[in-house]
Subunit: 332 residues, 2 copies
């Protein structure tokens, strides 16, 4: 056989591949980001670490990116979503617990008396978590979360909570994955509270979700093994806990980390201190009109010392109002 | 342009792709396995879960396989490799600790008096672990492991420990990955003791290694963040700890699990009890000539109750002598 018929398809394939690559490069991977500093910094970073043959090139295996969840990927005002879940669950479970009507912190939750609940402190919070998060198997708890998410609505946006997620961050997650990154969630929120829905919402599978947890116990029910959730904290994945958990779960130092509060500061510091190119980014909530405006004084997602450090070290700070042309997918 | 030039490359591509698929199907993916029951069971299981459009089909995302390490992937006789590391490290560090010569359990290690070491019980073991595994950063510890592996040799096989790994299991890991499985190690051994070398030895990256751990602390050294290893147990990934850790790290129930001892029994039980097709396999060490022969009475990798359960439930039991035609890569 002459060589010609072989060479022709190769040529066609090359042209086709080149056209596809070219078409791709021309499509904006971050359309909800304005062409301001943060977008430029992200694209420059990704371009750098994916350019083979340069000193900044990072092999695919080491392209680890970690994302905080509350306030970084989804809304955390007027309160953490998981806290809304706790309050709803106490109300739902109350008929089976008549004593709660006269016992704090449950009484406060049922009466909407935030002050009385707050007065019970950490002990009260633990009682609420125990009453709503333990005493069932892992699968039963996940079903409760899924059922709750299907009906609960954000008080202001009137959408399910798992739709109150930031469109620009979804584009960023997807852009990083397209460029060979493995994207992880590293959140102070409960690991089993997130796993039922992160794959669908963010494209992040359960094994790439790291979070706070309570202890579980291996049990046999009618000879069938299961994991029972106990009312004992296993790990709090916040502040210094984040780098500890990243090392525990991932075993590699990320090259990019994304957060929005002081709780994320050690994660960003730890990520920053590795060698080679790094991307550190904080979402600053500056848009009271389209979302919320808060930072140094907020009860949820306080951004104070981390903002100072970001400014001092030149980390990327997203000014939501200025840098994002769209907040939620449901925005017009 | 006529359609012809476009159609020709497509035809060529199809022929090429078909030839490749065909060539692949004809190559034995498990050449070190004899054509006995275990190999047939593995191939039947993989065929079943990867056949799209059938009730047994399992989507790629859910193809999770977990492997014990000691005695399942690498040799665990005459003692756990990590114990050999501990003993070597005590000897290496002894000159800096003159008190050890007259203090148990160190004295026993230095004198080779196994009985005296054993007499110090769990407390003594913890002292040995603390002296050799804590007080340094995670990266420093990993370097110690890497350096040790580079020079230590298995007393009988005279090869580095990370070459004393079972060739049939390497083929199995690779065969599963080729078929879309994510392969995890879930070991009673130390997570940071394994991570430095599992990628090269088994193709399993750090984030897919689950193991026992000690607590770490986030510290700043000259302003640079690091993780210091403390002399406090965080988690023992053995027996009931295995399903607990699988849920914690992976968040999914595996569909295939591989072990060799009673320590793996709860992992196999938990894997078995999910719905849909399952593969449960135990390696039975029956080959004193090429490796070791041990089960119900062994101090390392005791296989007693799990063997009974395997026989009762029809789990696959590999008879090393009968089912494997090659043990190590370095075998002729």
């Amino acid at each position: 056989m002459s060589r010609k018929p072989f060479r022709r398809p190769v040529a066609w394939c090359c042209i086709l591949a080149f056209s596809l690559i070219n078409a791709r490069a021309q499509t904006d991977p971050l359309p909800s980001w304005n062409d301001t500093g943060p977008k430029k910094a992200i694209i420059a970073f990704v371009g750098k670490v994916t350019k083979n043959g340069t000193p900044d090139f990072v092999p695919i295996d080491e392209r680890i990116a970690t994302f905080d969840n509350d306030g970084t990927l989804w809304v955390e005002q007027p309160m953490y979503v998981q806290l809304a879940f706790v309050l709803d669950r106490v109300r739902q479970l109350a008929p089976a617990h008549p004593g709660w009507a006269t016992t704090q912190p449950f009484e406060g939750v049922l009466d909407g008396n935030v002050k009385a609940v707050a007065a019970t402190g950490e002990k009260g919070l633990m009682q609420l978590v125990a009453a709503t998060h333990s005493g069932m198997t892992v699968e039963q708890f996940q079903k409760t979360v899924t059922d709750w998410l299907a009906t609960a609505r954000h008080p202001r946006f009137k959408h399910p909570y798992d739709e109150c997620i930031y469109q620009p961050m979804l584009e960023l997650l997807s852009y990083l994955r397209t460029n060979g990154f493995k994207t992880y969630i590293v959140s102070g929120g409960g690991i089993e509270f997130m796993r039922p829905w992160t794959k669908e919402a963010y494209g992040v599978p359960p094994e790439q979700v790291v979070g706070s947890s309570i202890k579980t116990k291996f049990i046999l029910v009618d000879g069938k093994p299961d994991l029972l959730r106990l009312s004992e904290i296993n790990f709090i994945d916040d502040k210094e806990g984040k780098p500890i958990a990243i090392n525990q779960f991932i075993g590699r130092r990320p090259i990019a980390a994304f957060g929005n509060s002081d709780g994320d500061q050690p994660m960003l510091e730890w990520t920053a201190s590795g060698s080679g190119p790094r991307l550190l980014l904080l979402v600053h909530h500056t848009d009271a009109e389209r979302e919320y405006s808060y930072d140094r004084e907020s009860s949820f997602g306080k951004l104070d010392k981390a903002l100072d450090e970001a400014n001092a070290r030149g980390w990327v700070v997203v000014d939501m109002k200025k840098d994002w042309n769209r907040i939620f997918r449901f925005d017009k």
